[in-house]
């Protein structure tokens, strides 16, 4: 059964304190791994998609990496506006549906 697990569930950082969020997955034929950001009361906002092990993508203070079993979202020198829930999802080759993890809620304090 396709499954996604994110850790930690919650993360508190001081402004400027870099860290990483983990997404472990099992899927029958990875079609893509997706990272989304979700602010309270809003829909998920697309950040990155990764397709094969070794791939990396960057956007401002965020960098996503992918291995055959997990993905990391690295946050460098975070700012308070980076506070949000970060969701990881996978799409298998069998269907187009996204299977989400439970998310990591990040709080960055000034």
């Amino acid at each position: 059964e396709d499954q996604v697990t994110q850790s930690p569930e919650a993360l508190r950082l001081q402004e400027g304190e870099s860290s990483s969020l983990n997404c472990s997955y099992t899927v029958s034929g990875l079609r893509g791994l997706f990272w989304y950001r979700q602010d309270p009361g809003k829909g998920p906002e697309f950040l990155f998609t990764l397709y094969s092990a070794g791939e990396e993508k960057e956007k401002e203070r965020l960098k996503a990496t992918l291995t055959k079993k997990e993905s990391f979202l690295h946050i460098t020198a975070p700012k308070p506006e980076d506070s949000a829930t970060y969701l990881c999802a996978v799409s298998s080759s069998n269907t187009g549906k996204l299977i989400f993890g439970q998310g990591t809620t990040l709080q960055v304090k000034p």
Binding site: G43, P44, F46, K97
Partner: protein
């Protein structure tokens, strides 16, 4: 360009009632998917439609149904509402090209009393 739009934004219903949620995809997107997000959890897949045909269904009871119209907009219907149906209902659209990126609307917050 307008993103995915959903209506209504909030809805309050009582147990046993029926509800219809609406979604307009990004212009040019032919695929629409519906997800249910309970507080504190990630979204769970309900349906996917492409070119008006159902392409996928998640593990939800038959009380949940959906359809897609010729203009690619979509409706999600839920009959005989239960307290446990209270959630944020998200619609996502995609162009089903190689990247298959799904873009989400702001959601409809459904409260069942």
């Amino acid at each position: 360009d307008a993103g995915v739009t959903q209506s209504p934004t909030h809805l309050i219903k009582t147990r046993g009632q029926h509800v219809t949620l609406r979604c307009s995809p990004i212009s040019g997107h032919k695929s629409v998917s519906w997800y249910q997000q309970v507080l504190g959890q990630g979204p769970q897949f309900i349906f996917q439609y492409y070119e008006k045909e159902e392409r996928g269904r998640g593990n939800f009871p038959d009380r949940f149904s959906a359809r897609q119209f010729p203009n690619y907009s979509s409706e999600l219907n839920v009959n005989a509402l239960l307290l446990g149906d209270s959630a944020l209902y998200l619609c996502a659209s995609s162009s089903r090209d190689r990247e298959n990126i799904q873009y989400f609307g702001a959601g409809t917050r459904l409260s069942v009393l």
